[in-house]
C-alpha cells in the first residue's frame, strides 16, 4: 500500500494482509541497496499472526519515490513520519544493517513511538571500508560483488529465502541490481557517516533484541559489543551458520528469535 510522506509516494508491503493500525504494529526496515522483499517470509508470517506489518521500501528504493535520503537521521525521521501517516501510535521496529541504524536512531529521537527494537546484522560504528565506499560510487557492479560475497556464509541453504530452489546469492545480487543507480553510494555513505549510535543506545529504554550472524563478516558480532554494553534492556541472539544476510540464510531462526521477543 502507499502513503504520502513529504509529498512523495512511500510504498510498503503489508505481509499479504490489509494493514490494521489497531493491531500491534511491526515495521521492517531493509538495509542498503535492498527493498522490502528481503523480509518476505518474516513479514508475511507476522502479518498472518495478529501483527499489523509495514515492510517499507525506503525512499528511492523499490517502489518508493526518490531520492534516497542522505543520512540515518533523515531516514529515522522518515520512519516516524510513516508511522504518523499510517496512524500508528506505537510500533516495534525491526531493522537490518543500515535499517538497524535507522531503527536505533528513530527510537532515540521518538521514544514515545517505539515499543521494542530488533537490530539484525548490526554494528556500531558501521564503518565502510574505503575500497567498498569508493566502489559504490565509481563501480556499482564491483561493489555489489563485494557485498554479495561478504553477505553470505555458505553456497548452500536448507532452504534460504524465499524458498527451495532459489539461489540466495543470485536473489541478493539481482535485488541490488534492481535498485536505481546511485542509491548504493548514498546508503553506504549514510552508514559510514552515522556517529550517534552509542549516544542513542545509552538513551534507549525500550527492550532491544540483537540478532547477529556468527559468520557475519560485514558486521561481525564483535562490532556490536560497544552498543550491547550501553543498552539498558537487551537480549542478544547469535545465529549459527549465518552471515550478514540473516533473513535469507536463516529465515526460520530469525523469525523464531523475533517471535520469542
Amino acid at each position: 500500500m502507499q502513503y504520502q510522506i513529504d509529498g512523495k509516494t512511500a510504498w510498503v508491503y503489508t505481509g499479504g494482509k490489509p494493514f490494521d493500525a489497531s493491531s500491534p504494529t511491526i515495521v521492517f526496515i531493509h538495509g542498503a541497496e535492498h527493498d522490502h522483499s528481503v523480509w518476505a517470509l518474516q513479514s508475511r508470517y507476522l502479518a498472518h499472526h495478529s501483527r499489523a506489518v509495514l515492510a517499507v521500501d525506503l525512499p528511492g528504493h523499490g517502489r518508493s519515490a526518490g531520492p534516497a535520503l542522505e543520512s540515518i537521521e533523515r531516514l529515522a525521521d522518515w520512519i516516524a513520519a510513516l508511522l504518523q501517516a499510517a496512524g500508528v501510535q506505537k510500533a516495534t521496529l525491526v531493522g537490518h544493517s543500515m535499517g538497524s541504524l535507522i531503527a536505533l536512531e528513530c527510537a532515540s529521537r521518538y521514544p514515545e513511538l517505539i515499543a521494542k527494537l530488533v537490530l539484525v546484522g548490526t554494528a556500531f560504528p558501521m564503518k565502510v571500508s574505503d575500497d567498498l565506499l569508493s566502489a559504490t560510487r565509481d563501480d556499482e557492479a564491483t561493489a555489489q560483488t563485494m557485498v554479495n560475497l561478504w553477505s553470505h556464509s555458505s553456497l548452500a541453504h536448507y532452504p534460504g529465502s524465499p524458498g527451495p530452489g532459489f539461489w540466495v546469492q543470485g536473489v541478493n545480487r539481482r535485488l541490488m541490481q534492481r535498485q536505481k543507480p546511485g542509491v548504493m553510494h548514498v546508503d553506504f555513505r549514510a552508514c559510514n557517516a552515522y556517529t550517534n549510535g552509542l549516544v542513542a543506545c545509552a538513551g534507549i529504554q525500550c527492550p532491544v533484541l540483537l540478532v547477529l550472524g556468527k559468520r557475519d563478516v560485514m558486521t561481525p558480532p564483535r562490532f556490536a559489543k560497544e552498543i550491547i554494553k550501553v543498552l539498558a534492556d537487551k537480549r542478544v541472539v547469535e545465529i549459527e551458520g549465518a552471515g550478514h544476510a540473516i533473513m535469507a540464510e536463516k529465515p526460520d531462526e530469525l523469525l523464531d528469535a523475533i517471535r520469542s521477543f
Partner: protein, 431 residues
C-alpha cells in the same frame, strides 16, 4: 585493492546448493526419495502452506535433492532460482503456461526442436495460445509479429537443424522494447558455452537430459529465471502483479521483487500440472553437472576435429557448423560463443537419401538413435527416419536435405570416431 571474485564456474558446478549433509556428514548430495515432510506443529504446517516459512511440504512442489539441482543451475546461469521438471518439454510448458493463457500469443523462432514446434503449433493452439513463427535471423520479423496479446518471445540459442545462432541481445532488446520477456532454450549450449542472461534473456529452459546430464540415463528439464524482468513496469502480466485467488490472494510481484515468476510457476504450474522431476533423476543429473565444463571441453574438441575431417572429405557436400566461415552466423558465433558452438551439427552426404541410409547403417561406434548430448556419439538421418514420410521438396521446406546427417559428438577417442565415420562414408559412396 584486490578485485573481489565470486566462486568460479567449476566450483559452483560442484558446490552450489549443497554442503556436507548436516545430519549424516554425507559429502555427495543424498537422494531424498521422499514424498512428504513432517510438520513441527499446526502453525508450522499452515505457515509452510502460506509461504510464511521456507521448507518442503510435498515433493511435487519441492524436494531437497531437486532443490540442490535447481540452485546449482541457477548459480551457473546467473539466475535467481530454477524449477526442476519432468522433462525439457515440461520446463517449456511451465514457462509458457505461467505467463500465457487462452487468448495469449507467443512469437517463436521457426528453427526449434520438433517437439517444441508441436507444442506451440498444435497443442497449445487447442488451449487458445497462438504462436507466430519467424525466421530467427530476421529481427524485423520478430518485431512485426508482436501483438497486444503477446506474452513472450522464444527461441533456441542454437536452432534446429541448421544451428542458427540466436542473436540473444538483439531479440531481447526487441522483447524489452515491447515490455515482453525473452525465453530461450539453452539445451545445446549449456551455461558453459553461453549464459543467456548475460546477453539480456529473461528466462531459460533446458532439456537437462542432454549435455547437463550427459549420460543418457535420465529425462529431466529445468526452468531458470534471471529475476531481472520488471513484470509490473511491463503492465502485461496481471498473473504476477495482481492478487491470485488460486494462492491465498498472493500478488507475486509485491511478495518478491525478483522471484515473482518462479514463485507463481512453482505454486501454480508445478502444483497443478504436476510435471515435477523425480528425486533420483535430480541426483543423476547432478552427477553430470559436476563435470559439465570438463565434458563440454571434450565435446567441443572432438566436434571441431570431426567438423574439420568432414569438411575436407570428398563424400561430404557441406558441413553446417557456426565456427566455419561458410555458416551464416559465423560472425555472431565468434562473438557470443567463443568457447565453441556445441557438439551437435549436420552435414550433407553426397548421394542423397540412399547414401545417407547406407552411411548410417554402416556405422559401428556411433549409435543410430533419436537423442543428442550424450557422452556417447549419436547419429540420425532424418530423411530415412524421423522425416521418412516427406518427399525431397517437403524436406527442403523443413530445412532438411535428403542427405542431411545430424551428429551429436560424444567423448570417445576422436581417432576412433573419425575411423568409424571414414569407413561408413566409404561404404555410402559404393554403387
Amino acid at each position: 585493492m584486490t578485485s573481489p571474485r565470486e566462486p568460479g564456474f567449476d566450483t559452483l558446478s560442484l558446490h552450489a546448493g549443497q554442503q556436507p549433509d548436516p545430519v549424516t556428514g554425507a559429502r555427495a548430495t543424498p537422494i531424498f526419495q521422499t514424498v512428504a515432510y513432517v510438520f513441527r506443529d499446526s502453525d508450522h504446517a499452515a505457515s509452510l502452506f502460506n509461504m510464511e516459512r521456507a521448507g518442503h511440504v510435498y515433493s511435487r512442489i519441492s524436494n531437497p535433492t531437486n532443490a540442490v539441482l535447481e540452485e546449482r543451475i541457477a548459480a551457473l546461469e546467473g539466475g535467481v532460482g530454477a524449477i526442476a521438471t519432468a522433462s525439457g518439454q515440461a520446463a517449456l510448458h511451465l514457462a509458457i503456461s505461467t505467463l500465457a493463457g487462452a487468448g495469449s500469443h507467443v512469437v517463436a523462432s521457426r528453427a526449434i526442436y520438433g517437439g517444441s514446434h508441436n507444442l506451440l503449433h498444435y497443442t497449445l493452439r487447442r488451449f487458445g495460445i497462438d504462436t507466430t513463427f519467424v525466421d530467427p535471423r530476421d529481427l524485423e520479423a520478430w518485431r512485426a509479429a508482436i501483438r497486444p496479446n503477446t506474452k513472450m518471445l522464444f527461441g533456441e540459442t542454437l536452432g534446429n537443424p541448421g544451428l542458427d545462432v540466436l542473436n540473444v541481445r538483439a531479440v531481447a532488446d526487441i522483447a524489452h522494447e515491447h515490455g515482453l520477456p525473452l525465453l530461450v532454450d539453452s539445451t545445446f549450449t549449456t551455461p558453459y558455452l553461453l549464459r543467456p542472461f548475460d546477453h539480456g534473456a529473461d528466462l531459460i529452459c533446458h532439456s537437462a537430459t542432454k549435455f547437463l546430464g550427459g549420460h543418457g540415463v535420465a529425462i529431466g528439464g529445468l526452468l531458470v529465471d534471471s529475476g531481472a524482468f520488471d513484470w509490473e513496469a511491463s503492465g502485461r502480466f496481471p498473473e504476477l502483479t495482481e492478487p491470485y485467488a488460486g494462492f491465498h490472494g498472493m500478488d507475486f510481484q509485491e511478495e518478491s521483487t525478483v522471484a515473482a515468476f518462479l514463485l507463481r510457476a512453482r505454486r501454480e504450474g508445478l502444483r497443478d500440472f504436476g510435471a515435477c522431476m523425480a528425486p533420483m533423476t535430480a541426483f543423476q543429473l547432478l552427477q553430470g553437472v559436476e563435470t559439465l565444463s570438463l565434458r563440454m571441453e571434450r565435446h567441443i574438441a572432438n566436434a571441431r576435429a570431426i567438423v574439420k575431417f568432414l569438411a575436407e572429405h570428398a563424400a561430404v557436400e557441406s558441413v553446417s557448423y557456426p565456427e566455419l566461415p561458410s555458416h551464416p552466423d559465423h560472425a555472431l558465433a565468434k562473438e557470443i560463443l567463443p568457447r565453441g558452438c556445441g557438439a551437435v551439427f549436420t552435414f550433407e552426404i553426397r548421394g542423397g537419401r540412399a547414401a545417407g541410409r547406407k552411411f548410417i547403417e554402416s556405422l559401428r561406434l556411433l549409435s543410430h538413435l533419436a537423442n543428442v548430448g550424450d557422452a556417447k556419439s549419436l547419429v540420425i538421418h532424418p530423411a530415412s527416419t524421423t522425416h521418412f514420410r516427406l518427399d525431397d521438396e517437403a524436406l527442403q521446406a523443413a530445412g532438411i536435405g535428403a542427405g542431411t546427417i545430424r551428429l551429436s559428438i560424444g567423448l570417445e577417442d576422436v581417432a576412433d570416431l573419425i575411423d568409424d565415420l571414414a569407413q561408413a562414408l566409404r561404404v555410402s559412396q559404393k554403387a
